[in-house]
Subunit: 343 residues, 2 copies
Amino acid sequence: MTKQTTLAEIGEFGLIERITKPFTHNHKSTKYGVGDDCAVITSSKTTCTVITTDMLVEGIHFDLIYTPLKHLGYKAVVANISDIYAMNGTPSHITVSIAVSAKFSVEAIEQLYEGIHLACKTYTIDLIGGDTTSSVTGLTISITAIGTAETSAITYRNTARVNDLICVTGNLGAAYMGLQILQREKAVFTQAGAQPKLEGYEYVLQRQLKPESPKNVLESLKKANIIPTSMIDISDGLSSELFHICKQSGVGCNIYEEKLPVHEQTVEVCNEFSIEPLIPMLHGGDDYELLFTVDITNYDTISKIQDIHIIGSITQADKGLHLISKAGDHVPLKAQGWTSFAQ
Amino acid sequence: MTKQTTLAEIGEFGLIERITKPFTHNHKSTKYGVGDDCAVITSSKTTCTVITTDMLVEGIHFDLIYTPLKHLGYKAVVANISDIYAMNGTPSHITVSIAVSAKFSVEAIEQLYEGIHLACKTYTIDLIGGDTTSSVTGLTISITAIGTAETSAITYRNTARVNDLICVTGNLGAAYMGLQILQREKAVFTQAGAQPKLEGYEYVLQRQLKPESPKNVLESLKKANIIPTSMIDISDGLSSELFHICKQSGVGCNIYEEKLPVHEQTVEVCNEFSIEPLIPMLHGGDDYELLFTVDITNYDTISKIQDIHIIGSITQADKGLHLISKAGDHVPLKAQGWTSFAQ
């Protein structure tokens, strides 16, 4: 019998590399395929269609014990359109497919779609199709988001250049700490039947359960005539996303611990859990902030834009990827972001 | 507690109606949303982007005991691009998302993608993205297919007109009888451990396991300058699809038993199973043939095109939907096609 390799052995990115290797592109319109936040298809002389898709599986990506279905619907849409923003595109349409087991009532599915509807309203997205089917167990949601982008303004992952400034939007690690609260309260509830205590954790919980995409920041960049040199959304953790940009661009980076933005409630919750805040800031998933690079000449302009933080700069590839600690130490970064394939 | 409605009570189409009701379209480019084989987005003055998506769940849509993964990958692509052809469009791109449990090896996933690759090669499709994640149990495949269509040539379901001819491509019911063979041999194998006997059933098995889309017929229609007045692909059974066209177009229909095309092996297998061939021909799913209507003035031209069969004509809505039997009886049609929500 031929050797059988487990998925855990090669991980998600190893798997993607292996299964997509034989595929070639035969359409002139295919500008970019697998390997970025979105695929890019030329639609006219100056514009492209950008497309992304995500699959969310109950028990892997979400736990319905502490995830209201309405929030789940909202988040599923945001997670997808976040990939469109990460290409510097404007999301416009989605399709939503669901597989549901008989345990779900029509009213439960309606709650899910209320959240999807609210996200569509908030971000001006048209729901144009999908599929509904039954499943053997649990809920699976698959969303495809479609948007448009000016061809000249599309931002890929593989185009960061040495000396570019590295920027992030909003703040980091909050969604991860929100998840810690939810998991702790679930454990208390299942073991002792106690009602969950969620007061005082509103910010981190909202970041986990109902994240938003920093679309305003893109509008500010456009107004300031700045096109990022590269961009990615932070879904699996800052460190992991920096590895994508650096590996694909053939560069290295230095980021500064003291420059990393964090919300005060994230720090408070970290203290409560005795977790070093740097851990969720570097490796926590689900933030849906944007990580991007800009030419260094944009320093003054970028510094003045609300919600953008300059956290470091791009270096030569041979310098590697480093975090400069508050004490001035160069600590090599690790790409230990979230993965659904257990290692 | 509010009343909880089960999915089985309202069925797939009832569910879709309920959950999509609150959604409105806010983009001018949205030409058609939920309710046809594809969504339609205007991409230029004369062309549109057509998009469709499908979700296939292990244990619901396929049984890996008798479905080779390579065939499954091929069929999953064909099922999707078949919806693009049904809009009179040309498929060009797909995204493929999979959720897989730890029981699948990398080599098994590679087999699935070999089938996807073969279908992409056969139909000139570029794979441009997707998602890979783990699942709690089994395999789920979600494919989104994207294509283009001339705006003036797009064929919807809701535009059939009284007196139009009703046509189908290829033949009907073969895939369903292929499934009967596979299920019988599975039962024999699990009960008696006997090796499956599949010789002599090659045609119906191929129709079930590795269906093709009748793309050549669309090319013939184009050459003959015929644009169907309405079109749908036959995935859930002829009768069910006729109901979609008639309900959405506000018309009725007469189809003639003697005109329905069937492959001789389908009839042989029906005899073996003591099944009236008309049953799978009307209600068997998975055929992926096309059902369409054309103006009656096209009669002579259509009659000469290979693989197209004129099976009846469109009537006033108040006449209802009927099968005219070989004996001349008017039998009301029933829409009892395949559904994943058990009634």
